[in-house]
Assembly symmetry: D2
Homo-oligomer: 284 residues x 4
Amino acid sequence: MNALRLASLNGDHLGRSVISAGNVRFGEDFVVIAGPCSVESEEQTIKTAQEVKAAGANMLRGGAFKPRTSPYDFQGLGLQGLKILEKAKHATGLPIVTEVTDPRDVSWVSEYADVLQIGTRNMQNFSLLKEVGKLDKPVLLKRGMYSTLKEWLNCAEYILSAGNPSVILCERGIRTFETYTRNTLDLSIVPSVKETSHLPIIVDPSHGTGRLSIIESMSLAAMAAGADGIMVEVHCRPGEAMCDKDQAMSPDMFGGLMKKLTVLGSCMNKLNGKSPHRLGAGEP
Amino acid sequence: MNALRLASLNGDHLGRSVISAGNVRFGEDFVVIAGPCSVESEEQTIKTAQEVKAAGANMLRGGAFKPRTSPYDFQGLGLQGLKILEKAKHATGLPIVTEVTDPRDVSWVSEYADVLQIGTRNMQNFSLLKEVGKLDKPVLLKRGMYSTLKEWLNCAEYILSAGNPSVILCERGIRTFETYTRNTLDLSIVPSVKETSHLPIIVDPSHGTGRLSIIESMSLAAMAAGADGIMVEVHCRPGEAMCDKDQAMSPDMFGGLMKKLTVLGSCMNKLNGKSPHRLGAGEP
Amino acid sequence: MNALRLASLNGDHLGRSVISAGNVRFGEDFVVIAGPCSVESEEQTIKTAQEVKAAGANMLRGGAFKPRTSPYDFQGLGLQGLKILEKAKHATGLPIVTEVTDPRDVSWVSEYADVLQIGTRNMQNFSLLKEVGKLDKPVLLKRGMYSTLKEWLNCAEYILSAGNPSVILCERGIRTFETYTRNTLDLSIVPSVKETSHLPIIVDPSHGTGRLSIIESMSLAAMAAGADGIMVEVHCRPGEAMCDKDQAMSPDMFGGLMKKLTVLGSCMNKLNGKSPHRLGAGEP
Amino acid sequence: MNALRLASLNGDHLGRSVISAGNVRFGEDFVVIAGPCSVESEEQTIKTAQEVKAAGANMLRGGAFKPRTSPYDFQGLGLQGLKILEKAKHATGLPIVTEVTDPRDVSWVSEYADVLQIGTRNMQNFSLLKEVGKLDKPVLLKRGMYSTLKEWLNCAEYILSAGNPSVILCERGIRTFETYTRNTLDLSIVPSVKETSHLPIIVDPSHGTGRLSIIESMSLAAMAAGADGIMVEVHCRPGEAMCDKDQAMSPDMFGGLMKKLTVLGSCMNKLNGKSPHRLGAGEP
């Protein structure tokens, strides 16, 4: 039974995990998740969703519960935010990934989300991990900013061992002494995960760098390193974003990125001897 | 009203916070918290409590909910552990500090604990912080192993702004490249907290170093740096400890440490122009 | 005059620096430097040089002076090693990059080297930087394993301000808490250098990861991130290497990497709207 | 023969090394080294030397060669600075410690210095280590800001194995993610050195914190942790210091620190069962 498979490879020959969310298949396609840091309004969310869909994104991200450094910062719209995400999903067909931060919220948030995200600050929130481990929905598990590969896979194991085999890992930068970037995006974790685990791994270059001007380069590098997808912050009007304003792409920038990813994706498929995989939603 | 005071000093002249738990006063006395990493049995817990009480500890620590790296490690005795702690408290008179990891457990755990501990992995578990912010019991907030001073004080602010003014900070080592010690104990955070906040700060040299042989030196250094107390792991039979075996002091070692702290404490009081403060429980 | 140009861009419109070594042009071509960690014998060095040349490398690396953690480890062959490198150059036509560690050696080592390397431990060895700043040969300046972007560019500035405009930067991994890899290869520094400096930047995935199995992925990622080249360790008989045995590629592995880089290079040129650039030595 | 003793203890029973410089004995007395970051003028240096001598310092520090991040910063007075230090020594009787950064300078700098300092950026400058290894003068070896205990002791080994048994280690803070302090002073390295090596270890809280207001606390903590001394920056007019202005103590502050160290020193001697050791120069 799949649920009893460990996060770490142990010389088994069961192949890599493929995890489905709507028509998206992590571990098979290169998945592009895009959307605003936080859901701010219906208009902003649906407009952004339509823009990223048009550019070729496969999935919509948006935060309804925002873990913020200060208690006085905007904390997200909560249930109202989830309802807006639902409308954006209906408007575009994009499946939704959204963060859950409290074990008491897991069951009802899972009614709105196609994939539940565990944020970097909650990677070792074991109560939360056990709770999402009871779901039959995929979980996107971000790497703790202070976390080793081994610790990260152990956190995936908390979810798997609770019965949910559908974990997608997401590298989002670790904390180092460098201050030019917000975090240090550790792309070497991508091939490291590939050789130690069967779980898919995507990369978040928005949080991973915190610097708009280098997100495109790092997205391309993530794909070349073998990642199964990326997650990027896009806002229909970046200058007005209520959080992470400095790292939100405009729809135009995102469109440019998607064009380059499509070209690079064909090249990578050739290198890996695969038939061209899907990139961008809505393709047959 | 105290609850509205910010964690950070802003040039106010309200003096340092003093936080009471039983007959212990954080911020006034030098507080020594001792006990096993985890509650394993009634016999082990009560015996250890009696030993540390005899040596002069002011408070008993012991984990009933253990956040462990792997889901297959011992996770603690839960409610049964709390009941054992209650017995140990009755047997010795020592107030209890124990960790809470899930917001759903906060209200009932608080019936057993005199001080609730938030562990390093949960420092930014904002749901949990908000929940303990509703209590009128002190909270011991450990520093995240990846956390800056500013982020830590913001987490204290989550608790204060929710209405609970009684936060005790606890330095427990940060994550660096050094591998000789388990973490790097950052004693410079002690005077840094003193100049930026009114909250008391204690030091955990057991987790901070992970190396039994240097805990005594770092305990003395913590006192000299101006800490308001220490928290150390003591086990009546260290070799049998179910977690953190390598950093658990024997009662004898702990007794030796207490003697040195008493001598150094008198010296520090002289340096600071204070009348001798209490060190060790049960003194008048 | 070129020598007075600062390492940091200051809104000037002078374009990116192109630095020549033999027939190699850093900042224009994608340069592949390959060879053994240390020169061990004439046979080993020439054989390795011929293998990497055949696979398409542009330049030969090899250490004659090895800065080793322990004084009891192999310290390199010194002058004898340089003479062997000279023979390998004659045998293959590949220009040579080799490390210099002492300011007293700079002038005579520069008679053998086409590019002088400053290693990570010497990034802030200012006496050495000033000395190579007097040469009219290119300098490959590795990033200190503890160094920020700003500090690194300041070290380049030491060389430039001494009169030598030909500095090539090389990312080789920084020191973090992660232990799965030997260092954490920071590819985000590549686009960061591109937006703050006109100097070329290459990547060393061998030291950057210390793990043979992920060097290929990180080489591809470096190219996709926009690097101007890579430097990799190749040994004709990796199992016998006297240093860094665990990260030395066999000629076969290196050949496989070169094939993939060639395919990816064409793709990157297309993305960047450039005509196909040279990859691999010996092309016209 | 002493010179062949390894830096690391290997279960030998030869006791801890005691290293003499003038009338100062590292490893036996608690040594206080004080003085300006850099020698700026004869008046400034002699005045500062007289002030720290009056307050009880045992040794004078002062830089004639300054390794600076930028080539455009003040680089020190060189030979002229050494001659000023010589005058300050004659004026006060304090032995001198000063940094050497270039192997070509070692022999003539050693004519002026009682102890030669190797700075944090040069910890792994092996040419320099081998050169000071030929001297029969003590060497103060600062820990690299990126260096593990094991690497540090290996650098000491470079000096010892070259024939010079007189190495004093100096902790000066490591690089972490915390930005409140300039570096993170790792006091746990003090007892770690004590249990793995016979060499004396002192602490530099000025560079270790970069924050004037917490130097006193960290100096006391260093003593309590078991350090063999401290090195602090003192300037007769801190506001005018040409480098590290923000961490230079005034003579008054330093005087206050010395009084506290004297009280604490007596207490530590009592704890360690030693007869009162000397603190402050000029005592019989």
